[in-house]
């Protein structure tokens, strides 16, 4: 029963998504409205924050210790979607910003990257529902 339903339902869904995409594109031959601009600026700030974090020398050290390729990590940041970036940036803000025990704190942040960027993209975990499998 379910098997029988699967095909028509998925065809219907694919078709409706096509329609959706189409309507969005026609609406787009216009000025970019301010809400879109604000959202894009937010995303840009998130990306900058995450990239800056990955670029720090102490962070690089921890990543090398844990066997993570810093260049690869940067590339993955570039391929993340807005929603994922926002989540990571949010998680980073919640980390304690203390000066001592820096290794532990950065270790925790790097751990977030390990979980979110690598395992999630490999499909081992399922933290995000919208993972961008650009591999």
């Amino acid at each position: 029963m379910l098997q029988k339903m699967l095909k028509p339902v998925s065809f219907f869904l694919v078709f409706s998504f096509l329609l959706l995409d189409f309507s969005v594109q026609t609406a787009h031959a216009r000025m970019i409205d301010t809400n879109t601009v604000i959202a894009a600026q937010k995303e840009r700030a998130d990306r900058e924050q995450v990239t800056a974090f990955l670029g720090r020398e102490d962070v690089r050290q921890v990543m090398i210790q844990q066997g993570i390729d810093a260049v690869e990590a940067q590339k993955r940041v570039a391929s993340l979607s807005d929603a994922e970036l926002a989540k990571i940036s949010q998680a980073m803000e919640q980390l304690p910003a203390g000066g001592d025990g820096i290794g532990a704190i950065i270790g925790a942040a790097v751990f977030i990257f390990v979980v979110l960027l690598i395992t999630d993209l490999l499909g081992l975990t399922h933290v995000f529902s919208f993972v961008n499998h650009k591999r």
Partner: protein, 340 residues
């Protein structure tokens, strides 16, 4: 009463340990430190609103009139008080059709926000007691959503916080049928908690909140655009530019609002400033292209649209269509352009 007995029992115990060290002094010290212990486990015990920034111990907002609400009309009443303070003489009954949802027998938060925007006021949501104290001490009344009932028997209510007194542990509000009601801070925090400490500022577009952030302000002002309050939106973005001089969003918003006001020269100027701030961002070039096209500057419009397409990004499709559309505009002296 409970805490009182707790205090004495703790005191008694400690006294037995330190009987030779001077009972009174210890007891006094203990009493002094008690609030510190209590504030750790629950902010409600101290009778003060929790705060970490240095807000003054008491504050009162001047110029907030009181409108006694009619039945179920706390939303329109609260909004009318806040709008009055912001310089608009509206009555609660004027707002009822915009705010009140008859089917729900009440007013939604989005209803208040939308109505404020339609009157050209910036609706800026805040959350938590720290923001509340900061805003009230800056002279801004705050509409709060509280639950007067229980979680299993909700009775939602809007009131306007117009002052507080931390030393007496009171919040002062216009609520329901009571003007200048002095409410115990503990009670207030308990009933406010259920809305996750939701508060709303209703501000003239040239007045920034005390605890403002660029993103939140721009988002709030963009709401005015949605309500087609272009003039007020332009004022709001103007204020943003003065505060955050490198704000790309503020220039883009200003351009869009001026475009809404049909000030094409002004809009083009704003978008140009935005392109200077972020020359790698196609959005500003895209909008600039549209405005230039409307001004009849086909050649310049084509250049800007081309630049947007070259820069690309997630909105590339949009940029391409802009370019395609401008290409369809016939070259000069073809009667299509209306304005210069």
């Amino acid at each position: 009463m409970f805490f009182h007995s707790l205090t004495t029992s703790v005191k008694r115990q400690t006294q037995s340990h330190f009987i030779q060290a001077g009972n009174r002094m210890i007891a006094g010290l203990l009493l002094l430190t008690l609030p510190i212990f209590l504030s750790g486990c629950g902010l409600v015990s101290t009778g003060r609103l929790p705060q970490t920034v240095n807000s003054p111990p008491r504050a009162m907002v001047a110029g907030v009139p009181f409108f006694a609400q009619e039945e179920l009309q706390c939303g329109p009443a609260a909004l009318a008080m806040a709008l009055h303070w912001s310089g608009l003489a509206v009555q609660p009954s004027d707002l009822t059709p915009e705010v009140f949802s008859p089917g729900l027998q009440g007013s939604l938060q989005s209803g208040l926000i939308g109505s404020a925007r339609r009157h050209g006021r910036v609706a800026y949501p805040i959350a938590g007691s720290e923001s509340l104290l900061a805003e009230v001490s800056a002279g801004h009344p705050v509409i709060v959503l509280v639950n007067l009932g229980f979680f299993w028997y909700p009775k939602w209510h809007y009131a306007v916080v117009i002052g507080y007194d931390q030393e007496r542990g009171e919040v002062i509000l216009h609520s329901g049928l009571n003007a200048n009601e002095h409410l115990n801070s503990t009670v207030f925090m308990n009933i406010w908690k259920r809305s996750e400490y939701w508060g709303l500022l209703i501000l003239p577009p040239d007045r920034l909140p005390a605890g403002v952030t660029e993103e939140a302000w721009l988002t709030a002002v963009a709401g005015l655009e949605k309500a087609e309050q272009w003039r007020e939106a332009a004022i709001g973005y103007g204020v943003a530019q003065k505060r955050w001089t490198q704000s790309f969003g503020a220039w883009m918003g200003l351009g869009n609002s001026r475009y809404g006001l049909r000030d094409h020269a002004g809009a083009a100027e704003a978008f140009r400033r935005a392109t200077l701030l972020q020359p790698e961002n196609g959005m500003a070039f895209n909008n600039l292209a549209h405005v230039l096209a409307e001004q009849g500057k086909r050649k310049e419009a084509l250049d800007a649209a081309q630049r947007a397409v070259e820069l690309g990004g997630p909105l590339l499709d949009n940029f391409r269509q802009t370019l395609a559309r401008i290409k369809t505009i016939p070259a000069p002296k073809n009667g299509r352009k209306r304005e210069k």
